[in-house]
Amino acid sequence: MNPFIAVVRRDVSLALRRKNEVMTSVFFFVVVAALFPLGIGPEMNTLRLIGPGVLWVGALLASMLSLGRMFAGDHDDGTLEQMVLSSASLPSLVGAKILAHWLLSGLPLVVLSPVLALQFDLNLQAIEVLMATLLLGTPLLSLIGAVGAALTLGVRGADVLLSLLVLPLYVPALVFGAGAVQAQTAGLGASAHLSILAAMLLMAAVFSPWACASALRIALE
């Protein structure tokens, strides 16, 4: 079997056995989306304004929470060293792990977002754009976050440090993701934003596995 597919299947089935990992991201997303109206007030006009931003930040934070687990489990039981030493290309194995991470932590957010968007009274077109930006954006976040996870592997205080490292790099995705929905609502159309998001995703898909592989080698030598 293709090592890429094998790693994806392995990671997904391992995580599904301990369902709490998948549920943490989803639960956090739902809670954040509920907390903001509670903190700001139920005025529908305000909520419609802040909805795209809040949902995007919620998805971003939820995705970031699960990053630490990407490599830590395999690092603990020695599987990661086997991957680094194996003859299969490390960037492709890392790409497989990132894909598995997205399937578990990112894709559920995309699926859940229409429901949460209704809490902010977003109309159908806005919801469509929101789902599209999350569909493009969450893999981008996984790809960027993976580099941070690899750099902080096994380091003291890795969780907080990881957030600090990764948040500046998340800013472009957030700006264009939330901006796309706002552009759609303002009647300007989101195609420019979506194109830029797609371009960033492509660049990250090419560069991130390579950067992660370097970081893992640095961490494990």
């Binding site: 902080t152 003291r156 600090l164 264009f176 901006g179 706002q182 370097s214 970081a215």
Partner: protein, 251 residues
């Protein structure tokens, strides 16, 4: 190995660089002081009052140099990171650790002076101006670098991980700046910029350039000084360090 690259790589050895840095930094520091005094004199006693902003504009004499330095130092760190990752030199990682605190300080100063400039000019301590927001993110990038290199105990791993982070950050800085500018123009009708317009009086520009030069030389001097401390720490098991520390003769 060509003779030319021999010279270059000779100073890649910590011992050789220690001596070079020791001879250089006092001169660089002296130059920095000279330009600083000259710049302050020009800025505070020669440059006239600004038509729009009154005397408050004088903050640019520290705000703009600090901003420029925070960006230049980050570029320098990326440069050393590439060198370190390519040639596996120990000195590159040490150079980055020597540069980062100064870069972070300049980024903070840029934000602080920007806020103090914004308050009298635009009535708010913080405006989400594209430049200031990008500067804030750059400040976080510096903190991330310092946090990462501080948390990893093994010096070689720390150097390389820091180098990779600096490189990834540097590649992202243009993207971040572009996205923040896009975000800023979308959400603000009248574009509020903290930067001075290009129509500055000659003396103002001159004072600003002098201060920028002074800050740049200051950064070089303090990085050279700091790296000597780092070299001593890292190389403490070598003979030359022991000889250096006990010039009165070994027992």
């Amino acid at each position: 190995m060509t003779p030319h690259s021999n010279v270059l790589f000779r100073f890649a050895a910590p011992q050789a660089f220690y001596g070079l840095a020791g001879r250089l930094w006092p001169w660089v520091a002296a130059l920095a002081t000279v330009f600083g005094v000259w710049g302050l004199w020009t800025g505070m006693f020669v440059a006239p009052i600004d038509f729009q902003q009154g005397q408050a504009y004088r903050i640019i004499f520290v705000h703009v140099p600090a901003s420029w330095m925070s960006m230049i130092i980050y570029l320098a760190m990326a440069f050393w990171a590439v060198l370190g990752l390519t040639f596996n030199t120990r000195l590159s990682g040490m150079m980055n650790r020597a540069l980062a605190p100064t870069g972070a300080m300049f980024a903070f100063l840029s934000l602080w002076t920007g806020a103090l400039w914004g308050k009298p000019m635009w009535g708010a301590w913080w405006v989400w101006d594209a430049r200031l927001t990008s500067e804030l993110i750059l400040f976080f990038l510096y903190l991330g670098f310092m946090g990462l290199t501080a948390s990893i105990d093994d010096p070689r791993r720390s150097d390389k991980a820091g180098g990779l982070l600096a490189l990834v950050g540097a590649i992202n800085v243009p993207i971040i700046y572009f996205s923040v500018r896009w975000w800023n123009t979308l959400h603000q009708g009248a574009s509020v910029t903290v930067t001075q317009g290009s129509s500055m009086a000659q003396t103002m520009l001159w004072a600003m350039l002098l201060m920028a030069l002074s800050f740049w030389l200051y950064a070089i001097a303090i990085a050279l000084y700091r790296i000597r401390t780092l070299i001593l720490e890292r190389e403490k098991h070598t003979q030359w360090v022991n000889a250096e520390l006990r010039p009165e003769g070994a027992s």
